[in-house]
């Protein structure tokens, strides 16, 4: 049985990775699980400058989900090079750097400054960020911007470029096609869903930033639907995520058309979840006589 997954020029040892923003740069969870058994680590978003992030509380639990507004808190690319790279260099796990920004130049800067790092196996481009030059609407809601941004980054790297799609659009397949046209090696979906929780006692948003991002099992059906739609509209691999809490959830994503998956919020509940999910996928494959990940495709 072959659990490997090919994304662009690289090979992941199994389809299960950890979702950006939920796993930092891997150090913390490294104390709890064997990182070498992960298919990939998708890092916290990196931006050129350090960002402190938003006011607290940044999190609130919702029915079967969590709402967060971390605000891309990250050390910035310079401190990343000195503080995080030495640790990443010690790993033999696929590391995908999640890249965010407020302008196209921001993304370019991060790729430029990390281009020659051997510990970075690929990039996941977080296009759910507001584009300050386009009135603050997220890059990821406009196919023209998505194609331009992807094409611009494509020229800078041979490493796999994964464009991470937001579900907060009318037709996600249009955005996925734009990423493919721009030269993306894969797309991942979904990022968080727009949501809000109001504190009725204080009569204000629980999260000071207001509207924030919903994740966890509540949004799993949204992620599966997006994965199904996207995988029918592009021919590059799709990485599915959103609310995976067990192997069966991940298998739904694979059947929907994903070639790999990520576990995010589920890690907070059970740090061992990605490993359990990978084992569960393996068990399912052997029970059902499947040889490789592509064998999940074509049923729906």
């Amino acid at each position: 049985m072959d659990l490997t997954v090919k994304i662009g020029s690289i090979m992941m040892s199994n389809p299960v990775g950890t979702a950006s923003g939920t796993f930092g740069f891997g150090e913390e969870y490294g104390e709890l699980i064997d990182l070498s058994r992960l298919g990939a680590i998708y890092t916290k978003a990196l931006t050129p400058e350090a960002r402190p992030g938003n006011a607290v509380p940044r999190l609130v639990e919702t029915p079967s989900g969590i709402l967060n507004s971390i605000g891309l808190a990250n050390p910035g690319v310079e401190r990343f090079l000195t503080e995080k790279v030495p640790f990443l260099d010690t790993l033999n796990t696929t590391v995908i750097l999640n890249v965010s920004g407020s302008t196209e130049d921001d993304y370019r800067t991060v790729l430029e400054k990390t281009g020659n790092l051997s510990c970075i196996d690929g990039y996941e481009i977080n296009i759910s960020c507001p584009n300050v030059k386009h009135g603050g609407l997220a890059f990821g809601t406009d196919p023209v911007q998505v194609e331009t941004l992807t094409a611009s980054l494509r020229k800078m790297t041979q490493k796999p470029l994964i464009v991470k799609l937001t579900p907060n659009v009318t037709d996600i397949s249009v955005i996925a096609k734009a990423a493919e046209a721009g030269g993306a090696d894969a797309v991942s979906c979904i990022n968080t869903v727009r949501g809000m929780v109001i504190d009725t006692r204080k009569r204000r948003s629980v999260i000071p930033a207001g509207i924030a991002g919903l994740s966890g099992p509540a949004v799993r059906p949204v992620g599966v639907a997006a994965t199904y739609t996207v995988s029918r509209s592009v021919s590059i691999p799709v990485i599915g995520l959103g609310g995976i809490m067990c192997a069966d959830d991940a298998i739904q994503y694979l059947l929907a058309g994903a070639s790999a998956v990520q576990v995010g919020t589920g890690l907070f509940v059970d740090p061992r979840l990605p490993l359990k999910v990978a084992e569960g996928i393996e068990d399912y494959m052997s029970e059902n006589g499947m040889e490789k990940i592509e064998d999940f495709h074509g049923f729906l």
Partner: protein, 261 residues
């Protein structure tokens, strides 16, 4: 830090709405005062996140760990309905501890005041116990709204303890800062440790600053991962615009590190 399953040994009320939960601690690493753990309550998707609780005691001979928790929402309600023998899913010990944070100079001081309020009581009972075992004769000051909230069964009568109640139904009438002000401690070398509601922490911090004492606080913030990975639980520090993670860089901070707003 490890994730492990344990069994509930005892679960008893200690005050109105407050419970003490004892369970076996199977791992080698000994949790220190100030550290916490997270518990997964239930196995459905709501409540979803693990819930953080500070250690309130640790018996190294029987390897029994304890927490004191307040029934405040769904997860703590479910926890309060569990029974001895039930399994619990624990991740810990998490965060730093007072012993790790306190400077050698402060540790060597003569007077130690441990101030506790509300759900901050658990970790301060443990800290007072640690200080007692180090022969530092701590003074424990516990603030409650009213007598029925005082966790009498969890108190150790070999520790000097002052109870303060807002309504005067037990001990000193007034809050913990009122008490400290009306019973001034002449030793400017005294170290004050506090855990409880934010206004109480600020009161202790201001009092310490005004009287030149040292101050350490244990903070709380809504948490998701509990291990420092998600950047969810930060607090603002005086060090430039840097946010510190309460779960990993804390929960214990020196009072001066925190930007009090």
């Amino acid at each position: 830090m490890q994730q492990f399953f344990s069994q509930i040994q005892n679960l008893n009320p200690v005050a109105t709405g407050y419970f003490r939960l004892d369970f076996h601690w199977p791992i080698d690493e000994v949790p220190r005062a100030g550290q916490f753990l997270t518990i997964r309550v239930g196995d459905v998707s709501s409540p979803l996140l693990r819930r953080p609780f500070a250690l309130s005691a640790f018996d190294s001979s029987s390897r029994t760990a304890s927490i004191i928790f307040q029934k405040i929402g769904k997860a703590t309600e479910l926890l309060s309905e569990m029974n001895p023998g039930d399994p619990i899913d624990i991740l810990g010990p998490l965060g730093n501890s007072f012993s790790q944070k306190v400077t050698a100079m402060d540790a060597g001081k003569k007077n130690h005041i441990v101030v506790a309020g509300g759900i901050g009581t658990g970790p301060m009972l443990y800290l007072a116990d640690e200080l007692k075992r180090e022969k530092k004769d701590p003074l424990l000051i516990i603030g409650c709204r009213s007598e029925h909230l005082v966790p009498y069964p969890a108190l150790d009568n070999s520790i000097r303890t002052i109870i303060c109640t807002d309504d005067g139904s037990a001990g000193f009438k007034g809050n913990v800062v009122d008490y400290m002000k009306s019973n001034p401690d002449p030793d400017s070398g005294t170290v004050i440790y506090s855990c409880g509601p934010k206004p109480m922490l600020m009161g202790c911090q201001n009092y310490a600053e005004e009287t030149g004492k040292s101050s350490y606080v244990s903070l709380e913030e809504v948490m998701a991962c509990g291990v420092g990975a998600c950047m969810g639980c930060t607090c603002e520090t005086t060090d430039e615009k840097k946010y510190a993670r309460v779960c990993k860089d804390g929960p214990v901070f020196s009072g001066g590190e925190i930007k009090w707003t």
